[in-house]
Amino acid sequence: MKKNKTISILFFLLLVMMPLDFYLIFKVAPTERIMGDVQRIFYLHVSLASGAFLAFTCTFISSIIFLWKKNLVWDSAASASAETGLLFATLVLITGSLWARPIWNVWWTWDPRLLTVLILWFIYVGYFLFRGGIADRFKKAQYSAVIGIIGYIDIPVIRYATKWWKSIHPLLTREGGGLNPVMKNVMFFSLATFLVLTVFLFFFRFRLARIEERLQKLKKLTED
């Protein structure tokens, strides 16, 4: 497999963007008046969450195309993006928890948003547990596409259900959106950086999956 141009371009882009992003977050963005430095997690947290969302959407779309076209390339795309999404979702939960401890005084709270991400996380962990248990390559692709579609469709319903569930209980105070312009720009840059990272990880993982596939094929050929 020849060297992939997209991956190299994205890699060099990240080599510039990532350090710059951290510089902006820690040096340029002003310290938040009430929360202090802890608030800086927010730039990572929101960017990671957007990356996860992008990745899971890609899983959803790839799963649909797989069922339609029955081409294993789409399954590799679905699993590569689900892996990226799961990694990001894990980091979203961790960064959120780190932020919540000093601000809300708890590591975890049963807020609808938190609960939705946690359930989303469970669904995609299940997705990989399931994939690990099926040997047949085509069946694995076909069945996990079904999970990729259903898990994604379930998200809005979970969101509404948890929102209603919590609305009976006292609501958590949520900070308003009045971001300072510098903060806003840092936020946007961070968002862009992490979206590039998502795409990079996706392509990287996707390429690896394709290589693995070719290796399996070659192994089979030599066995026969």
Binding site: G133, I134, Y160
Partner: protein, 225 residues
């Protein structure tokens, strides 16, 4: 009409299998009973607490006994590829799905009636039986949701090397809205809480419609070889 005919034939087949083998329903009922006993130790179920704990205990029992039962019935289809002979028959994948949903629904309802009865006896809470008419919409929509998702996922997981053990990992996160709706609506009705059970019934109905449509579209991909 042919569609409904084959679905009902599959339902009949499952009832017959259950009457002969007594494989899944009896296990479900025993698990329900066991769970009810265990909750009695785990929670303080004194007279003044029962009412507020009832909905939580009951829906946890419904959920886990349901998983056990639906896993069993799908395993029975996968054993020796029994379901393949159904696929060779003129019955469509969709009617197969609906037949299985109906049979799972039937077993779940029987298990729930049993659980409610034993709950009333063991926890000295007859109110749950007398309030059954009000609780019925929530119970039925919730059980239908369990069956719609459970039928699809139990078929998926039995294809895996790990078998039905994997079912809870896929099934539980997805049915969270149903569990939430079931517990909340029952709690509101039993304890006369404000907020209204209506919106929970609504969310369960939306979930059921969504899952019915999606599963009907996707089920053929799970069984086709």
């Amino acid at each position: 009409m042919k569609f409904a005919g084959s679905a009902i034939a599959i339902l009949k087949k499952d009832i017959l299998l259950e009457l002969r083998g007594k494989e899944s329903l009896s296990l479900m009922l025993f698990l329900s009973l066991l769970l009810l006993v265990i909750f009695n130790f785990a929670l303080d179920t004194g007279k003044e607490n029962v009412s507020s704990l009832a909905s939580g205990i009951l829906w946890v029992v419904f959920t886990f006994s349901g998983i056990l039962g639906m896993g069993r019935t799908s395993m029975a289809e996968r054993d020796e590829d029994a379901y393949l002979s159904i696929l060779f028959s003129p019955a469509s994948a969709e009617s197969f799905y609906i037949g299985k949903v109906l049979s799972n629904l039937l077993f779940l309802v029987i298990m729930e009636i049993f659980t409610l009865l034993f709950f009333a006896i063991l926890y000295d809470f007859e109110k749950i039986i007398s309030m059954l008419p009000q609780l019925l919409p929530g119970l039925l929509l919730g059980t239908l949701g369990f069956s719609l998702v459970g039928t699809l996922f139990s078929f998926l997981t039995t294809a895996s090397r790990y078998g039905e053990v994997l079912l809870p990992f896929l099934y539980l996160p997805v049915v969270v809205p149903i569990i939430l709706g079931g517990v909340s609506s029952m709690d509101i009705i039993l304890n006369g809480k404000a907020g209204g059970a209506g919106k929970w019934i609504q969310i369960m109905a939306v979930f059921d419609v969504l899952y019915f449509a999606v599963s009907l579209l996707l089920f053929r991909y799970i069984i086709e070889e």
